[in-house]
Subunit: 205 residues, 2 copies
DNA sequence: CAACAAGTATACAGACCTGTCTATTCCATT
DNA sequence: AATGGAATAGACAGGTCTGTATACTTGTTG
């Protein structure tokens, strides 16, 4: 039996806490936030209810922890994938959409958790909605940095356009998963090429 | 007191039924589906519970009726706005994004109800999710007809690109309502111009 | 007037939800 | 061996949810 205790009580390494957040993340992503009851999380995580309420003050706090984990992982995966796949600015822009295509191909793809969160918690002042907005802001900031490195005349404008393509591809794949919608990432990639050429000039690397 | 009865019992003109669907539509849109209880709909609509269950077999049936009404109204408004505003194919494509800008400017804008529905009812086989997918399919079909009228070499491809821009602008405005996000429609419009030029040629009307 | 259709009010069943409380077990360190 | 922190099981309170059942009102039509 492994040592599941933690010398620093409230540290993020606390094993039981991790089990909770990990399983909550999966369930919230697959089934939704309101539709997933606390008891279901506890059952899947194999953790007692009192343990949850020792680590989190409420279900909303657990949701926020799950979203923080998701944000960290998703953006890391996003950035690493892009930087590994391509070295030129143009190649990195296009690698965004290859990343999306791989994501969409996962049979467990259930849309963007942050879009879903802002749908379920519509009030903009709700911390959950705010966390979703912050995630999108950080993603756009990264794309904007790519655009700066590409010496785009207006990096923010190019980034905004590419992010709109990203979100559009995500949401169409989520809402219309069947049909010929598997190609949303490819369509977005083609559109991105046209927009990049327009912003950078056709010859830019 | 007006005559609220209806000679055809299950016709869509049934006044009480209309009151239910109308108010359910508003509440589901503003607060979400799971977050809006039946009792809240009844209270706002001023209708007794038994009347609801005489017209609908379940809450899900009421949601489907609300989505049907929303789909009909939204697409009518969309198509009429575009056809009224512009006569040339290129003008009509751009009018799409003016329509979005007006929609986003409404202080009660709460995102796309169909995107929200597919977020809350993630199972693709769920009739509610299917209704959302059908709505998006019909919108894209209309944009595809516009592209055909514009004599685009590949109408479906142009329509798919423009629809991705639409959905991206919608979702970014929903998730990040504040900041400089009010301009998502304008950014999408600029991107659309580039894509249309690429597909049709710069001189096309 | 009588029959009828539509809606109302109200209570209720049964399920599920979040969050709390208590008593107990396990295990590592002292 | 004793102590104490962490987790456990399980019951429970109090609320909300959907959907049903019953008895009543109202207005129209034959």
């Amino acid at each position: 039996m492994p040592d599941t205790r933690n010398p620093i009580p409230d540290s993020p390494l606390s094993s039981k806490r991790d089990q909770l957040v990990e399983n909550a993340l999966k369930l919230f992503e697959q089934e939704g936030f309101h539709a997933t009851g606390i008891d279901r999380v506890l059952e899947v995580a194999g953790v007692a209810k009192m343990t949850l309420y020792k680590h989190f003050r409420s279900k909303d706090e657990l949701i926020l922890a799950a979203l923080r984990l998701r944000d960290e992982r998703w953006r890391n995966s996003f950035m690493r994938s892009i930087e590994k796949k391509a070295k030129t600015p143009r190649g990195r822009f296009l690698a965004i959409f290859d990343f999306l295509a791989e994501w969409f191909a996962d049979c467990k793809f259930a849309g963007c958790m942050f879009i879903n969160a802002s749908a379920e918690y519509a009030d903009h002042d709700n911390p959950i909605h705010a966390a979703a907005a912050e995630h999108k802001r950080l993603v756009e900031k990264y794309v904007c940095e790519l655009a700066s490195q590409a010496h785009a005349p207006d990096p923010a404008a190019l980034a905004a356009q590419l992010c709109i393509l990203m979100e559009g591809a995500i949401v169409l794949t989520q809402v219309c998963p069947s049909e010929n919608r598997g190609c949303a990432a490819a369509v977005a990639k083609q559109a991105a090429e046209v927009l990049i050429n327009d912003a950078l000039g056709e010859q830019a690397p």
